[in-house]
């Protein structure tokens, strides 16, 4: 089974590059043929990526969450998959290039450095941990997509304010739609993160009896969760519109990134499995 895994590992960055190229070409030219075929290329890529992740799980007898580079591949998949679902639901096809770029980046790094791990710590074979990680990653994909739409919102907002009617004005959907896409992605991300946190809390005492709630990773995640929670509740029950909604999304995302960098480089946390 190693041969197909290695082949897919080689081809996935190429496929994501192809998807990215198709979406970018369509963004700049709006050719009808590309507009229809890019979604098909993305779909085929997602199928092959899912196949890759399944074959890895079977071959190495653990979910592909045991190294940073396995995680990167899952992030690439979940971002592309979330975008695909969003595109199917909304039929807004002009923003893919900005989101698929993330999948392409993560998959390139993953494919370059990923190794065949047959021997992994026992804790990483736990099913609850698998669920926890998958929910967390899908949640982070949601907030990443939310941030991308937030940035596109800001870009279009500034273009409109400055009377610039170029490519951004012509190709992006309306501000209201970008705001909605950003908000809905954040809501989905928040729900999945909440599930991941709940599973983590259930699983944590059994896996790490000496863990601390003051662990930097837990504190960081909690702050991210709080920021999104406040933002979503304010939007739902308060009077948050436009730029303010986007502000929450971007702040939450920035906090998530900072927290990730700090905890994985500086701080000591029980989350460091690799």
């Amino acid at each position: 089974m190693l041969q197909p895994i290695d082949t897919l590992n080689l081809f996935l960055p190429i496929l994501y590059a192809l998807v990215f190229a198709a979406y970018t070409y369509d963004f700049f030219t709006e050719k009808k043929f590309v507009n229809n075929s890019k979604r098909i290329i993305l779909f085929v890529t997602l199928i092959l990526h899912a196949l890759y992740l399944i074959t890895r799980t079977i071959e190495f007898d653990h979910p592909p969450i045991t190294s940073k580079f396995e995680i990167f591949s899952i992030i690439a998949f979940s971002i592309a998959f979330s975008y695909f679902i969003l595109e199917l639901l909304t039929d807004i096809r002009g923003t893919g290039t900005f989101i698929i770029l993330f999948s392409l980046g993560f998959q390139i790094v993953s494919s370059l450095f990923i190794e065949h791990n047959y021997i992994v710590p026992e804790v990483l074979r736990n099913r609850l941990l698998g669920l926890h990680v998958i929910n967390a990653l899908l949640g982070y994909s949601g907030i990443t997509i939310s941030a991308v739409y937030g940035l596109l919102f800001i870009l279009l907002y500034k273009n409109l304010k400055a009377n610039k009617f170029g490519l951004v004005f012509n190709r992006l959907p309306s501000l209201e739609i970008l705001e909605k896409l950003s908000f809905y992605s954040a809501v989905i991300g928040f729900i999945l993160l909440t599930i991941a946190i709940i599973i983590g809390i259930i699983w944590l005492p059994s896996a790490f009896p000496n863990f601390s709630y003051l662990d930097p990773k837990l504190i960081g995640t909690f702050f991210v969760w709080i920021v999104y929670g406040i933002g979503i509740l304010s939007k739902l029950f308060g009077s948050l519109y436009g730029k303010k909604v986007i502000f929450f999304s971007l702040t939450g995302f920035a906090l998530a990134i900072i927290s990730l960098i700090i905890t994985s480089t500086l701080g000591k946390t029980f989350h460091s499995f690799y």
């Binding site: 409109l160 009377n163 009617f165 992006l172 309306s174 209201e176 436009g242 730029k243």
Partner: protein
């Protein structure tokens, strides 16, 4: 083909002349009988605010266009009009010009979609007045098809090319569902009306009009089924609207920074779109510095209009390609008009020979054998003529080489001496029969 056409349009004459020569429906109806009586056997008169065009087939096959212009000026006397103000077209050039007009690439605003309807309407008037026949009908059917293809297959009609429509295009980049939004149009003049109509066409949820003269506001409100806000109170209602379009003829600013600041505050910072399409401006331009306020004036909207016009210009080669395709198709059809009588004559010629020969043996064979011979000769003639008929039709339908079509037709006519006979071929058959009889005698 002897189709001729004259055109006076925005490229050849100033607005005053075009206006003066514009023909309304009744005037076209008055002009057609005049053209019919002495100039054209069939024809069409197209007249819009930017062009007046007359196409037709001359009765006497003389390609002199002066009488058409004279007839037009006789109906609509205009000072200062000269022959130079008219473009003149013949045959293929006339067809090409008509197709260009119908597809909108000859319009003042390139890609103008109204012209297609106007061409169609002009043709219908001629049809109603029995001023059209097969060829002209085919030309106009193809022109309308060309116009439709241009709209469908290219982007010639896409993008806003008027300031009021550009304003609506910007609004659509801010709000997704206009049916849940409300708009206030300040000023019930032509520009305001146009903007209001565009918004209504885009399905705006609620629209209100305010105007210094209440009668004008009422008139427009009735036309677009909108509400009226009294002019003296409209500032108190600004916060109730998501979109404000101002198009008054006021010399001073009528909506101040503070008016908008206060409206935005009351709206709890929800986005507010302001379109100032008045010259001089109606709204204080400093309002663009307020968060969630999108302010656009004539200058900024003109950028969109210019961009879209350029995009439409870039589409002209694609439309010209469609025009060329349709011209090839049309002339292919037209060329078959020459070929069809030749084919018919040729078949009649052979049929006559067959009938003549059958007649000769009718009394020499049994009825049963006669039926067999009759059947056999019919199939034989059919097989002999199948290939030349198909080839001749193919030559004509491809329309690629008219000379070749003519040469082949001539060879056929010469070989069977078809040229000297009427279409039914009776005379030649009689002559041939005579020769046969002479031979028999000998």
């Amino acid at each position: 083909m002897n189709l001729v056409g004259i055109s006076i349009n925005h490229k050849t004459s100033p607005l005053e002349l075009r206006e003066a020569l514009h023909l309304n429906h009744d005037e076209i109806i008055e002009l057609v009988p005049r053209l019919k009586s002495s100039i054209f056997s069939e024809g069409v008169v197209i007249s819009t605010c930017n062009r007046t065009e007359i196409f037709g087939f001359p009765q006497n096959h003389v390609l002199d266009l002066a009488p058409i212009i004279d007839e037009l000026i006789l109906l609509k006397p205009v000072n200062g009009i000269q022959q130079e103000h008219f473009l003149k077209f013949f045959s293929c050039g006339a067809v090409k010009h008509l197709f260009s007009v119908a597809s909108g690439i000859d319009s003042m605003i390139i890609g103008d979609s109204q012209i297609l309807g106007q061409v169609k309407e002009a043709f219908e008037i001629s049809e109603d007045l029995n001023f059209t026949d097969t060829t002209l009908r085919k030309i106009f059917d193809t022109a309308i098809k060309t116009g439709k293809r241009a709209i469908k297959e290219t982007k010639i009609g896409e993008g806003a090319v008027t300031v009021s429509y550009a304003a609506v295009q910007v609004v659509e980049k801010i709000f997704s569902n206009l049916d849940k939004k409300s708009a206030l149009v300040i000023g019930a003049g032509e520009t305001g009306e146009l903007a209001a109509v565009h918004l209504r066409d885009k399905g705006i949820g609620k629209i209100a009009i305010t105007n210094r003269t209440i009668e004008r506001a009422e008139k427009l409100a009735e036309k677009i089924h909108s509400e009226i806000v009294p002019f003296q109170f409209y500032k108190e209602h600004l916060h109730n609207f998501d979109i404000i379009i101002s198009a008054t003829s006021s010399d001073t600013i009528i909506v101040s920074y503070d008016d908008i600041k206060s409206a935005v505050k009351k709206r709890k910072n929800t986005p507010l779109v302001l379109m100032d399409i008045a010259v001089p401006r109606d709204i204080d331009p400093d309002v663009k510095n307020i968060d969630n306020v999108f302010y656009h004036d004539m200058d900024s909207l003109k950028i969109i209009v210019d961009q879209n016009l350029q995009k439409r210009k870039d589409q002209i080669p694609f439309v010209q390609k469609i025009i060329m395709e349709e011209m090839i198709g049309f002339f292919g059809w037209f060329n078959t008009l020459d070929v069809v009588p030749t084919i018919r004559t040729m078949r009649s010629f052979f049929e006559e020979i067959r009938n003549d020969e059958l007649e000769k043996i009718k009394n020499k064979v049994s009825d049963e054998d006669f039926i067999k011979i009759e059947d056999m000769t019919r199939r034989m003639i059919g097989r002999i003529l199948h290939n030349p008929t198909v080839k001749l039709r193919e030559f004509a339908e491809t329309g690629a080489n008219i000379k070749e079509v003519a040469a082949n037709t001539m060879i056929l006519k010469d070989l069977f001496n078809l040229g000297s006979i009427p279409s039914n071929g009776k005379e030649i058959n009689e002559d041939e029969n005579k020769t046969d009889r002479v031979n028999e005698k000998e």
